[in-house]
C-alpha cells in the first residue's frame, strides 16, 4: 500500500516541479507584464498545488499534512488576490498590454 502512495507522491512532486519550471521559463519568454503574470500563475497554481499534494501524500494523516493544507488554502486565497492587485495597479499606472486585436465586446447583456 505505501509503495503506491510513495509512487503517487513522487509523481505529484515531479509534476509540480515541472510546472514550476514551466512557469519560470514562461516568466522569461513572455513579452510583456501581463503575459508574464499568466506564466507565473501556472507555477503558482499547478506547480505549488501538485508539490503540496506530493508532500501531503508523503506525510499521511499527520499534523504536517494539515499544515500543508493550510499553506495550500493560503495560496488559494492570496495568490490570485496579489496577482489581481498587481495587474490592477499596473493598469491604473498606465502599463498598456500588447493586444493581438480589438477588444472582444461581451456579446451578452
Amino acid at each position: 500500500m505505501s509503495a503506491a502512495l510513495d509512487l503517487a507522491s513522487w509523481t505529484a512532486l515531479a509534476a509540480g516541479g515541472f510546472f514550476c519550471l514551466v512557469g519560470g521559463i514562461g516568466l522569461l519568454r513572455m513579452p510583456d507584464f501581463y503575459t508574464r503574470v499568466h506564466a507565473a500563475s501556472v507555477a503558482e497554481t499547478l506547480g505549488v498545488g501538485l508539490m503540496l499534494l506530493g508532500l501531503m501524500l508523503q506525510s499521511g494523516f499527520t499534523l504536517s499534512t494539515v499544515k500543508l493544507a493550510i499553506i495550500g488554502l493560503l495560496f488559494l486565497f492570496t495568490s490570485p488576490a496579489a496577482t489581481n492587485a498587481l495587474a490592477k495597479a499596473g493598469m491604473s499606472r498606465g502599463i498598456q498590454p500588447l493586444l493581438a486585436s480589438r477588444e472582444h465586446e461581451s456579446s451578452k447583456r
Binding site: 510546472f19 514551466v22 512557469g23 521559463i25 514562461g26 519568454r29 513572455m30 513579452p31 510583456d32 501581463y34 503575459t35 503574470v37 499568466h38 506564466a39 500563475s41 501556472v42 497554481t45 499547478l46 498545488g49 499534523l63 494539515v66 499544515k67 493550510i70 488559494l76 486565497f77 495568490s79 490570485p80 488576490a81 496577482t83 489581481n84 495587474a87 490592477k88 493598469m91 498590454p97 500588447l98 493586444l99 493581438a100 486585436s101 477588444e103 472582444h104 465586446e105 461581451s106 456579446s107 451578452k108 447583456r109
Partner: protein
Amino acid sequence: MLRTVSAVAVMFVFWIVLSGYFTPFLLASGLASSVAVVWLARRMGMVDAEGHPIGLVPRTVFYWPWLAKEIAKSAWDVTKVILSPRLPIRPALVRFRPTQRTEVGLATHANSITLTPGTITIDAGHDEFLVHALTSASAEGVVSGDMDARVTRFERGA
C-alpha cells in the same frame, strides 16, 4: 451575534488544527485567543457576511473540485503555449458583466478567473469585469459565461 459565535468557533478549530499539543493550558489560551481575535475583528468591521462567509463553506465541496479541474486543464494549455517554440499567444482584453450580487461572490469569481492560467482579472466591479486573456481560446472561455454561472450557483446555492 450568531456570526460572532461561529467566527470564534472557526478560529478555535484553526487553532487546534495548527497546534498539535492539546494541553489544558494551550486549549484555554487557544479559546481565549480566538475570542480576542474575533473581538478585534469586530472592531475592524470584519465579522460580517463578507468577512466570515460561513454559509458558503458547505458549497465549496462542490465548487472547488470543479475549479481544480478547470485550473488543471487551462494550466496544461498554457504550458503547451509556453513550451512551444512559436509562443502562440494572442493577448486580449475582455470586458463582461458578472451575474454575482454579493462581493464575496464577485471576489470568488474574479479569483477563479485569475487562478485558471490563461486569464487574469484586472478589474473586478459590481457591473463589469476586465479580464486579460493570453490566447483567443481562453478569451472565449471567459466570454462563454460558463464559470460565471457556476460561481453564481455557488453564491446563491440555487
